[in-house]
Amino acid sequence: MKQQILDYLRDSFGLEGSDAEDLYQSYVETLNENISKFDSLLADDNFTDFTRAAHTIKGCAMNSGHQEMHLAALELEKAAKANDKALCLQLMEPVKNIYMQLKGA
């Protein structure tokens, strides 16, 4: 999965070596930063910030060629926008799982 992202960064942005690695790390940090907010934001019914967090993940995933995360975050953003807490709870799991897989890679 990491290689897929690095390939995308190379093909789309001409980034290789440490430049690509730095951006990849930045992507992972962005995911971590936003996913770690999910539980508390949802507990507070703070759908505005929850939507923003999902939106940020979606945007970064798009530009990292991380299609799986892009689609999962897109669905989550829609649910958050609709203030659908149950659906958010359900849809944030795949986002977390994809992140864990990436981290594991």
Partner: protein, 540 residues
């Protein structure tokens, strides 16, 4: 992008991944990206540094990208802004509408490649630079035209001249900043003057350039010709040859007249130009148009045209004749309904304004009535000139003064002597000297904004009446638009306020001084060009 300066970009996104991505997509030296994590910080940086382009994320916590755009627009209405968003993917039509509500805002989908982003940035900046180049070009052209207009003014005679008992004055207003009208007033010998008024076809730069060339050609012709040999048809033939030489498609209607005040005779030839209006104030009548010879076709209209002496007309002038010369721009002025002013109005105004003789302000007063009557739609250059014998009643004096410190000082001394001679009152002479010194220097420095210029001249008329003296000063300085206050029938403007403030600051004189010397001060402005200030001063 070769040889182009680096594009300086402020990139605002709350997400560090996106900031890094943008910076990496837009590398130096072609681009210099300043990344910023939020709107508040962005505003601070924006005010501190110069940028060519802003890239804003729309969805940011706190102040959004669209709100930030509004803040930026309060500081800079035109800097290009690129909004990044993934939201348009969500088919939000209202967002697209909001983005496009600002003509200098561009949209970029948040999913982009390096080449897409670079290409959009370069395309935006290409458009901006091209627009700037065009704007700079037009500004430069405007400045050139303004300069050309200023130079043209110097080719014209002074707006009022007094030479050997003959006075000449003219009003001109270019349709644009430059004019295709020309006027020449040249003394051939004592009491004999050459008058030429011409109107180059069309208006604008080509006409103005042709006018300047023609004016120069006439000057050369006069220099090289024995003055007593100058005849109207000679001048027209010279101009015809000149117009053919310069191969212009322009032609010129023209009136060439030699006015001999010694024998009250005007010898003239019309080349497609309207006849002058010759008015006698004492008889209150004008010489009918039918008394003028029709003349020939405009100069330069047909190749090979020859102007013959047989087309020259001779008019016997009344003693007090005022000869008005004008271009057809005057007849073409229209009111809001599109009605031409026509020539009849000019005839009426000539007799009503100049029934007491030609004054420096006469032409301006005539034009003022045109404008006040609603004839304000001007479609051509306008020139109105007048020449007459300068007959002064006893105890009346006229002066023409260049707005230079030296000439004003010379005049002030002259005025002192004149008042002393008439009134034998040293105190009054001193007061008048101070009044002129204050007022004329302020016209030169503040009204005209120059200290040692030769033009536009200031005219001064002094009249010693039975119980008081009247001083009339005409200048082409700033406008007047405020009430002077205590002094009756008096209007003034910021000029007086400036004068008051400035003079009080340094000497405590100025306006107070003028008011204390004068029984009344009356100010008027004619045709948006000429200020007429009348001081009434008691002898005691």
């Amino acid at each position: 992008m070769e040889n182009s300066p680096s594009i300086k970009i402020l990139a605002v996104d709350d997400d560090s991944f996106m900031r890094q991505l943008i910076a990496r997509c837009l590398p130096e030296p072609d681009f210099i990206v300043t990344p910023c994590p939020n709107a508040m910080e962005a505003m601070t940086v924006f005010k501190e540094k110069q940028f060519d382009l802003l890239i804003l994320d729309i969805m940011m916590p706190g102040i959004s990208g669209l709100q930030l755009r509004s803040l930026i627009r309060q500081e800079n209405a035109t800097i290009p802004i690129m909004l990044l968003t993934a939201k348009v993917d969500d088919a939000e039509g209202s967002l697209l509408k909001e983005i496009s509500s600002d003509k200098n805002t561009y949209y970029q989908n948040k999913k982009f490649t390096k080449s897409e982003l670079q290409s959009l940035v370069k395309s935006i900046m290409g458009r901006v630079w091209q627009a700037k180049q065009e704007k700079d070009y037009f500004i430069e052209m405007e400045n050139d035209i303004s300069l050309a207009g200023e130079i043209q003014k110097h080719m014209f005679p002074h707006w009022w001249t007094l030479d050997g008992g003959i006075q000449f004055c003219h009003y001109f207003r270019p349709y644009m900043k430059i004019t295709g009208d020309m006027i020449t007033h040249f003394k051939l010998e004592d009491g004999v003057f050459l008058e030429i008024i011409g109107d180059i076809s069309g208006h604008g730069i080509q006409s103005a350039l042709t006018m300047s060339a023609v004016e120069n050609s006439i000057s050369n012709y006069i220099r090289k010709t024995l003055l007593s040999d100058i005849q109207p048809h000679h001048i027209l033939n010279h101009l015809q040859a000149f117009m053919e030489d310069i191969s212009t498609e322009k032609y010129m209607t023209c009136l060439v007249a030699i006015v001999d005040f010694n024998v009250n005779m005007m010898t003239y030839q019309l080349a497609g130009h309207q006849a002058p209006i010759i008015f006698s104030p004492s008889q209150n009548k004008t010489i009918p148009a039918k008394d003028f010879k029709t003349g020939s076709i405009p100069v330069g209209l047909l190749k090979g045209t020859v102007y013959n002496e047989s087309d020259t007309g001779i008019i016997q002038l009344p003693d007090d004749a005022i000869i008005f010369l004008y271009t057809d721009g005057l007849g073409d002025i229209q009111d809001d309904a599109g009605e031409d002013a026509g020539e009849e109005l000019l005839h009426q105004l000539v007799s009503s304004i100049s029934h007491e003789g030609l004054r420096p302000s006469t032409n301006f007063k005539i034009m003022d009535i045109y404008f006040k009557a609603g004839y304000t739609n001007i479609s051509d250059d306008i020139t109105l000139a007048a020449i007459s014998r300068h007959t002064l009643r006893p105890h009346n004096y006229d002066f023409s003064i260049s707005p230079s410190v030296y000439e004003i000082d010379q005049f002030v001394q002259k005025a002192n002597n004149l008042v002393l001679e008439h009134t034998h009152d040293e105190i009054l002479a001193g007061k008048v000297e101070i009044l002129f010194s204050e007022f004329l220097n302020n016209i030169a420095v503040h009204g005209l904004g120059r200290r040692n210029a030769k033009r536009p001249i200031i005219s001064v008329h002094i009249e010693f009446l039975e119980e008081n003296m009247m001083i009339t000063v005409c200048d082409q300085g700033k406008a007047w638009d405020m009430q002077l206050g205590e002094t009756s029938n008096t209007q003034t403007d910021n000029f007086f306020s400036d004068l008051k403030n400035r003079r009080l600051e340094f000497h405590g004189r100025g306006l107070h001084l003028l008011k204390s010397i004068s029984k009344s001060i009356t100010r008027s402005r004619y045709a948006g060009t000429l200020n007429e200030t009348i001081f009434l001063i008691n002898y005691k």
